[in-house]
């Protein structure tokens, strides 16, 4: 009860997080995740795992990572010269976006790592993976977009 009261009575700013900080954390998560996945895929491509369907594979893989990264860097770039001090975003959105981003990157990595054990293989498998990756990615992009566009100027 005491905790609930405290939560209900705490200042409004505690429900918000500094926008720059939130963006930087998200970019950090996406950078690390994307780096791991891209390095894995590059090594696979160089060794010859995708022999015979390299173009199809990269055509499938590129939209899984780079549009979201592009969105982030685009927003960061466009606001790089602005003074964003005092801008905040709801913590809920930040946490939601962070959880979904981490979840999506983990699912993507697991998708790539489990391919040797799957019943189908090669492009049949990757096209199958779109069934679960696409909805999750849509949620992630929505969350990241909402976060990167939400703002509040503190008085």
């Amino acid at each position: 009860m005491i905790r609930r009261r405290k939560r209900a009575n705490r200042p409004n700013d505690e429900d918000r997080i500094d926008l720059d900080r939130a963006r930087n954390r998200l970019v950090l998560v996406w950078g690390i995740g994307a780096f791991a996945v891209v390095i894995l895929v590059i090594i696979q491509s160089i060794i010859g795992r995708f022999e015979g369907f390299v173009q199809e594979f990269w055509g499938w893989f590129t939209p899984t990572i780079f549009p979201t990264l592009g969105l982030m860097f685009g927003v960061l770039g466009s606001t790089a010269f602005e003074d964003d001090e005092g801008r905040t975003v709801k913590k809920f959105f930040f946490i939601a976006a962070m959880v979904m981003s981490i979840g999506y990157l983990v699912v993507l990595l697991i998708t790539l790592l489990l391919e040797p054990l799957a019943g189908t293989h090669d492009m049949k498998y990757f096209n199958l993976a779109n069934y679960w990756l696409a909805p999750v990615q849509a949620l992630v992009v929505a969350a990241v977009g909402a976060l990167f566009n939400s703002r509040k100027k503190t008085s």
Binding site: I47, L113, G119, Y125
Partner: protein
């Protein structure tokens, strides 16, 4: 947003701007007002009902008209005791790999049994000869499919698959012949020209072999019905079985090996083709090849196996009859990392044993994996008696043809030529060679 009405094409040189009929020169662009163009066409057509009626008639006429580039020609002739039909395809380039022929009596509409006695080419025409199991020639309706006819420039030609061949004068069957529509001989002129008389030969009453150019000929003197090494064919149902033909000469194979004769027939002083077939069938069964299929080749037979998945070393794959590449079943870090980072192509194989006394070389044509996998279901389930009773004389050779395919990236398996393994490797690692060995005494 791109608007159709402002479709703009830019050129490097001077350009023309067309707008509502006006032609004006402008700088470096062609501006076409599509709405205006469509409107002009619409007005021109709709305002003229006669043009619409003409257009309708033209469409109807083109829909009903059957325009063929090539008309096949057919003639009856007699070879030995049998009546044959020679089909002539007047075109320079004819492929018969997927040849399918149906024959019916025009008067009774009953299907007629026959077998393809010979294929080949003569001058600028391809020849197909059908041997019928009938006493007298008659009006026969042939429906010929699967011919790939092209002109000298490679353009595909459309041919009339329907061919009605009337009997020679005085040789018609005894039943009263009702005049059938379109039963006239369809010669090159398309009229009711009389059929070509069968070619006559000096010194013999029966027609001699047709001098084909292509190596695909079946020498009539060695044909199924007139071989000097086999007893004369019986005039029963089995004597004239319509058995599918294996492409001969066979299409390009990955590798091939002659099977030693002593592995096929042992301890038999007068072996026949059915003994060879029995040895091959037993070997197939021992090695787990469930399905097999028989085809006719000139004076012999071909036995095709089912498409099987193999490992890169030629041994049967873990999921032998699956067309999908096998995933890692038993998890080990080594196998997993290998599967994660290395390509996993699927290797597939079809084994075809060709038993014939006709030397052959491979034809300059490749088969697709789908075609090869269809061999097992398009042939006969057993070897017809008329072929099996033929003597397996010393001039007969059994050749194992290996058709290997490889798929990468989940796409269709492509033909492998040449195989990285020898045919002997394939036969050894499939177990067929060991299975053909006679049991120790």
């Amino acid at each position: 947003m791109i608007s159709i009405s402002t479709l703009v094409a830019t050129t490097k040189s001077q350009a023309v701007s067309l707008r509502r009929g006006a032609i004006a020169h402008s700088s470096c662009k062609i501006d076409i007002d599509l709405y205006a163009a469509i409107g002009n066409c619409y007005t021109a057509v709709v305002s003229r009902p006669l043009a619409l009626v003409s257009l309708g008639l033209l469409v109807c006429a083109s829909a009903f008209a059957q325009i063929f580039d090539v008309e096949l020609r057919g003639t009856w002739f007699k070879r030995g005791d049998d009546w044959c039909v020679r089909i002539e395809v007047p075109a320079p380039r004819v492929s018969m790999d997927r040849l399918r022929i149906e024959a019916r009596d025009v008067n009774t509409s009953e299907p007629l049994r026959f077998h393809i006695d010979a294929r080949g080419s003569r001058r600028r025409a391809a020849i197909i000869e059908l041997r019928f199991a009938i006493e007298n020639p008659r009006d026969v309706s042939l429906y010929i499919r699967g011919l790939d006819i092209r002109d000298s420039s490679g353009r595909e030609l459309v041919y009339n698959p329907q061919l009605i061949v009337p009997p020679p004068p005085g040789e018609a069957a005894e039943y009263p012949r009702a005049p059938a529509p379109g039963s006239a001989f369809r010669g090159p002129a398309g009229g009711a020209a009389p059929p070509e008389p069968p070619p006559t030969f000096s010194g013999q009453g029966a027609p001699p072999p047709v001098p084909f150019n292509a190596p695909t000929i079946t020498n009539p003197s060695r044909s199924l019905a007139a071989s000097d090494t086999t007893p004369p064919p019986k005039k029963d149902g089995n004597a004239q079985i319509d058995i599918p033909q294996f492409p001969f000469p066979p299409p390009r194979y990955s590798t091939a090996e002659k099977v030693p004769r002593n592995l096929l027939v042992t301890g038999n002083s007068n072996p026949r083709l059915k003994d060879v077939e029995a040895s091959l069938t037993k070997a197939f069964e021992r090695c787990g090849y469930g399905d097999k299929s028989f085809y006719a080749v000139p004076d012999g037979f071909a036995m095709a196996s089912r498409l099987e998945q193999i490992n890169a070393d030629g041994t049967p794959g873990a999921e032998r009859w699956s067309l999908d590449v096998t995933p890692v079943r038993r998890f080990s870090v080594r196998d997993y990392l290998k599967a994660l980072f290395e390509a996993r192509p699927g290797h597939y194989r079809v084994v075809v044993f060709v038993v014939t006394n006709h030397p052959f070389k491979q034809k300059d044509a490749t088969v697709k994996s789908k075609e090869a996998s269809a061999w097992v279901r398009e042939g006969m389930n057993t070897l017809p008696r008329e072929i099996g009773d033929r003597e397996f004389s010393n001039d007969y050779v059994c050749t194992a043809l290996i058709y290997e395919f490889k798929s990468v990236g989940g796409g269709e398996a492509t033909f492998v030529e040449p195989s990285e393994l020898t045919a002997r490797d394939h036969l050894e690692r499939s177990g067929l060679l060991a299975a053909l060995q006679p049991p120790p005494m």
